[in-house]
Amino acid sequence: MHDVKTEAALDSAWSGGKSPFAIGSKKLGMWLFIVSDTLTFSALLITYSYSRLTNPDWPRPFPIFPAIAFSTTMTVVLLASSLTMVMAVMAAQRNDRKKTVMWMVATMVGGLLFTGLHLTEWMNMIFKEHFTITGNPEGTPLFGAVFFGITGLHMTHVMIGVIYLGIVAVGYGRGKYSAEDVEVNGLYWHFVDLVWMFVFPLIYLMSVKY
């Protein structure tokens, strides 16, 4: 027989045999991945800040119009795709498979639109303004490595997110995946959006050409 205190301890979430965080292992796994990926992007953005401080001739290549207007549109598109993902997760929690797949497809369209706009911007910078990964006409060549490195890694995350969404949407529509899988996918998608909330001000808005 245990006394009252021991009974309480054995009954706690930490006594074993239970999930102390009251979430599934997939969701916990995704959260741990998100923390590690946050640190990757933090390291890159801090490296960018450091490079920028050490180089007084850092280019400011983005005029308000068209460059900032264009990247603001990209930001709004990505934010809109986050809202459709929220709707998908809510539909999945109501077990509404049709609506879930519909909202997930809408999220994919948002992701593809973002990637398309981003690539258009890249093509314009590379071929019309001659900004490449190794040099540019306006200042330190480091700009290219930083700009294309950070926005490129973010774009890769968006593209992987679109593929991930496609796989989960098909699987969920066929009954292979549960609502939890949709929610875990949502976590990843919102994280990609969250990273852009730092990339957009630090890379674009801090480099406005007046």
Binding site: L39, T72, T75, M197, F200, M206
Partner: protein, 107 residues
């Protein structure tokens, strides 16, 4: 506990209206940031405001869209302090060197 039970347990999220309000807030902050860029503020002032606004946006996304507000607080304690600690560790190496390099700039 199986996954299904977990999935049902964790389903206390915000309503459509709340999520929509959070989203409108995020878009509004984005336009505020763009407006600040248009106003040509001092770079240090601009950077401080932008980082604070971005942290607010990150908090909004994590709390409502990523449901962290509705999870057990132990999960928040598992994820957030360790992450902030690691980022602060990166800044320990950033700051002294960054200020030294700033002073070494030709004026």
């Amino acid at each position: 506990m199986n996954t299904q039970a977990h999935a049902e347990e964790a389903h206390a999220g915000a309503s459509v209206g709340t999520n929509l309000a959070v989203w409108i807030g995020l878009v509004a902050i984005t336009f505020l940031e763009v407006f600040l860029a248009y106003e040509q503020l001092q770079p240090t002032v601009m950077l401080t405001i932008l980082v604070v606004l971005s942290l607010v946006k990150a908090g909004m996304i994590m709390s409502w869209f990523m449901h962290l507000k509705f999870e057990k607080f132990s999960l928040v304690l598992l994820l957030i302090p360790a992450m902030i600690f690691c980022i602060c560790m990166m800044f320990i190496f950033f700051f002294p060197e960054a200020f030294r390099l700033l002073q070494m700039r030709p004026h």
